[in-house]
Symmetry: C2
Subunit: 425 residues, 2 copies
Amino acid sequence: MTVTVEAPTQSSVTDVARRAREASRVLVRCSADARRAGLFAMAAALEDHVDAIVAANLLDLAAGETAGLSAPMLDRLRLDAAGVAKLAEAVREVAEQPDMLGEVTDEVVRPNGLTVGRMRIPLGVVAMIYESRPNVTSDAAALCLKAGNAVVLRGGSEAVHSNRAIARALRDGLASSDLPVDAVQLIQTTDRAAVRELIQQEEFIDLVIPRGGEGLIRAVTRDSRVPVLQHYKGVCHVFVDASADPAMAINIVVNAKVQRPGVCNSLETLLIHTDVAPSLLPQIAGALRAEGVELRGCPATVDLLGDGVVPATNDDWGEEYLALILAVRIVDDLDRAVDHIGEHGSSHTEAIVTEDEDAARAFVGAVQSSTVLVNASTRFADGGELGLGAEIGISTSKLHAFGPMGARELTTRKFVVYGEGQVRS
Amino acid sequence: MTVTVEAPTQSSVTDVARRAREASRVLVRCSADARRAGLFAMAAALEDHVDAIVAANLLDLAAGETAGLSAPMLDRLRLDAAGVAKLAEAVREVAEQPDMLGEVTDEVVRPNGLTVGRMRIPLGVVAMIYESRPNVTSDAAALCLKAGNAVVLRGGSEAVHSNRAIARALRDGLASSDLPVDAVQLIQTTDRAAVRELIQQEEFIDLVIPRGGEGLIRAVTRDSRVPVLQHYKGVCHVFVDASADPAMAINIVVNAKVQRPGVCNSLETLLIHTDVAPSLLPQIAGALRAEGVELRGCPATVDLLGDGVVPATNDDWGEEYLALILAVRIVDDLDRAVDHIGEHGSSHTEAIVTEDEDAARAFVGAVQSSTVLVNASTRFADGGELGLGAEIGISTSKLHAFGPMGARELTTRKFVVYGEGQVRS
């Protein structure tokens, strides 16, 4: 079988960014119907290109094996025909979301007769810098276009062939629609200098979203002249309150820790109220150990549970294990739990298990993390689970968006004012 | 008369930022009533300290005269007893705004029974870096506290005595309330290195707002590790459409240009439809010249109006004159006007004068500036005029906030999720 892979073009990163800005100016004038049709054309093109995409992915997998990528890494990279069908389906789901551009809210009539409202508009151009998983290429493109933005994509070198094949399909789809083809562009080179050049294009790019390891995100934040939406660590906590339903507490803690320990919304530190620790913590610990979880406890936890618990050091608080390890701390009350989260947490996701409505309200009010749950697993902190549709990332910084981000978080609002000749005196 | 001025303390900028973070953690647990009472206490303290503030201001004025500040600069700096009363009144107006913290919106029940909503919360700690006018000290403090944030203030050296006196009054007010005194702190030193140190405190500060010249804003944006809300230039346009009411067009253009030419929402470039230019532009030009406005025109404007018009160079498009100078360009149609604004504008404020509803809709839809007006003066692009109450700045970048910013723009939203023991499968 012969595999054709598009060669890197010679155009510079600046040219790519400039073309994205031009495409965004055209996109702003496209109707919701045109954007919807463009997304469906992109989905159809993914299906049309399935052989090329799967073949390109095999090249990446072969290169990854040669380079000694771990089995989980290779698994994240793999894209078969069913996987491509899922990409197309995800694009169609985004297309079917209600359109939000042009909606006017917060309308008021001022004493001087001016009508003031706020209209939702695209951000303009989004640059997406990501590692590994090739599905981000089509997911991010779909969400950006849904919100009326042009997107510049820069994937990781491990997935370079897959990303090129997917981007080529998406652009083929756009070419058959009324949307500008340059609404989706992939930086072809895997040269690291290209990222630096990209994030300096403040004239052409409105937002940079890095997705990947903390090193990537810190480097992008340091060097960018464009605003960056950050997703650092997920150090998630569950606080088991004195009034917690025991069975529910065990179920939530085990689910949050073990259902998928390698992701950002999994549990890293268990906090438990001192009144209920003697009766409940041994049960929770037993259930966790049955799942192979290593416990690292505060002195009171070690006293209570005995030798099976590794004494926690100060580094265990705030550690993102992403593995079957759990830090455990017994706290005097809800305020101490909130203080611990404020001091050691990452502003990502925290949950309380309680039957006491006042405690639930106090916890929800006081914890300043992007998602706060009552009697539910931290694993629900996800754009799809929270009803945003697809998700382009999770922001752990509070500016612009906080928490899971869908298409709406890729828009902004302008003031629109209607008068009858009013001037200012 | 003896004037006592608080000496700079020895605490480092990092200490100030850390104390602000601690104060913000206390503020989050204060009720709306407590915040309201705290703001009233601050207003009363400003009135109690009126003599000290006016005396401190006289020191700044004397230093400014010695340093050769211009008359308008000295005028901006001046604060008499009536001015202090206005500061107090402005703080009370902010206190009286409806409270927004804790409000839950966009509530949905997911298919699995989880109730998901988004709760409005403070950003945390805001750093305000500003030049010249001492009223920013109390205005910014009031807006930040209204939104539940602690604030670190760093004013310009010209107003150092006034700012210290005002901050001392505000903190005296806080000391008599249930709010933490360190919710309002002023960086006492006028050393420039302090600004650089302040904007590196990403652990303790959530948002930096620079207010002043473009040089200050670019320097802060370049060096900051904390997100920055930017207010660059205001290069505002009025487009006089073919269907404009002539008297209204003259009135709006003259008001937008001459009512207060030194501010960011004043008019800098007039665009006029070619169909109406021969009849209307001479009238507009006459009205502007009667107010002493110098015109710089495109070739067609020069042809039409004759020798009194300076030929515009390419630098005139996009120039922020902040003076009685106006660039004038005749354009073929509305699309050309939108293109000109997209190429040369600053995303601040633009207006159309038209009697044609389709033209108004097209202009409002296509122009991607933070405020777009129909048949009203650009001078209304102001938080107070648009109904936000007081304003902490105007954002010309699209992230987080776009356009005039009030207390609400100093908040964010977190996801709050109520379950009954749901776990993820």
